[in-house]
Amino acid sequence: MTTTSSTKVVPSDDELELLSRPPRSLWGDAWRRLRRNKLAMISLIYLIILVFVAIFAGPISPQSPGRPTGMELRERGTFRQAAWITDADPRRTGDWRFVLGTDSAGGDIFSRLIYGTRVSLIVGFIPMILTLLIGVIVGLISGFAGGWVDDLLMRFTDVVFALPGLLFFIIMQTAFGATALGKAFNGLLLLFITLSIVSWASVARLVRGQVLSLKEKEFVEAARAVGVSRTAILIKHILPNTLGPIIVAGAFIVPNAIISEAVLSYLGIGITPDLSPNAPFPTSWGNMILLGQGAINSQPWALAGPAIALASITIAFVALGDGLRDALDPREQ
């Protein structure tokens, strides 16, 4: 529709008085749009809180997340109900020191949930960074170099893209889970590799497409005309213009990685639970769901707690990703 879009005022000396609205930068505009999206803002705040919870898990947790020693175990009991539930058995009646009760080994579920945030966030973020790094580099090179380099990289990318993700993760985890690599950092290192190994292909395709279209744009022609080097054009002119879609893609990689980790841990081939009392990553939510399922009748919160935690973090990331996409891509408006 020809309404306002075609009547934007460009300031010139005698027309400055017409300029009643302040000019907006691209990123400022995007941020303003994001801020107006309530769901995305609530999600962002929730995620920031979770980051703090993950960092300060120690001081926040009411109990130690590890397996209790003999004395502690007697106090905590096993399968103790959530605090507000009264059980016929006094040793299993809820206690506000153990808000969500305890699991089969007497672990405090609430404290373990708090520590589980660490795993979820770290397996969300590190694979995202690795994925973006590989994807952006492959995409930039492929799109900018063209020719046989492009052909070769894209054929490879196509094959990786066609691999069934979760199946591939399972094979990776099953194959290397028992090796030294699989045991490093409770299996986190292997998880980072596994979760990054397939999803970069879609990022590479995305970036390549962006580069191909940007390469033809006038500002790149102009930069080339004044003798800017190829590397400088790639880094200073093309890369910043692909950032929007890359950020959006990144925002959706995080929840996918979190879910994949949970699925793998639920299958028992993800993170290895660490029983030592001072472990930084004692357990993950997927692992807790696996254990909680066994206690479905005796202690439902052992299952409901991690399930809700996992659901809420992924909802928050997806809502934030949606908000970012709407904010960075004004065509949707």
């Binding site: 769901l39 094959v159 066609a162 691999l163 069934p164 979760l166 199946l167 591939f168 399972i170 094979i171 990776m172 099953t174 194959a175 290397f176 028992a178 090796t179 929840p255 879910i259 949970a262 699925v263 639920y266 299958l267 028992g268 081939i269 769901i289 909680g292 399922q293 479905i296 009748n297 439902p300 299952l303 409901a304 399930a307 996992l310 659901a311 992924t314 909802i315 990331f317 997806v318 809502a319 949606d322 949707e332």
Partner: protein
Amino acid sequence: MFGYFIRRVLAIIPVLVVVAFVTFAMMKATKGGPFDANEKLSATTLKALNAKFGLNKPVWINTEGFSEAKAESSNPLHWVRGFLDSQFGNFAINALKGDFGPTYQSRGSETVQEVIARRFPVSLRLGLMATIFALIVGIPLGIMSALRQNTFLDYLSLVISTIGISVPSFVVGVLVVLLLSRVLNIKPIQPPEAWNGFGRAYIVPGIVLGLGTMAYVTRLTRSSMLEVKRQDYVRTAQAKGIASMVIIGRHMLRNALIPVVTILGPALANLITGSFIIESIFRVNGLGQEFVTAIQVRDYAMIMGTTLFFAALIALANVLVDLTYGFLDPRIRAKK
């Protein structure tokens, strides 16, 4: 069109070769054989088992047939023969014939393809149930929220679809089981014989499995309808005086559903192959549950066979989608 189809089917082959190669390589990277963990087996039985499964042969190249003379080993034919007689060579040739060999769990009494043939129909039915649910709920919901953009209905469907798309199905699965058994006192787990026909037993796991796809379909339908709503040809139809319901049905839907159709194939494939967790939660005795068991006992033959089967299924689904796409959009049809 036919040539295009053939080209697309042929493009699946490199993917399957990579999948086979990578899976095989990774399985071999793990230490020890499949029967090593079983301490009850005597050394002789172990040896016999390994021989039976061809596990005594070299992994990649069987040099046994090579003679001492150097000249012999430089003959490329020997290398080919050596490759074909290796573990991978045997696996690849047999897989090409649709034979994935006996499963380790059954100690050779049942082959992988027999297990697939027995269990896959159950997974297929579950996947179909989930797809049907995703479509009959997702498409109308997406259309409604696009037509009533920025109303309460639109926001409600946005919330439902955001939850549906973000919460993994296994979390929904365990929560549903929890809800059914604890709050509603309904037994969520059906007996094994319930899965034989396409019956009521499939409803709950089907819905849980299809929830994510349903949410995705809703979002896709909504955004695609909104896009179509803005198109010039819709204005042309309005200018002709066509009733809005007819415009929606005749002019908008067919354009709007093209992107939805494109995700259908992968969605169905994902639902069939991704159902293994839902299957183990609801004790559905499909291929997925078999796959989970295979992971737990490290039955490599089963894992590799199922993975290849699933990969082929997904790749084939993608080809079929491209064909439907061409059928729906005359512009694409012309290009091929």
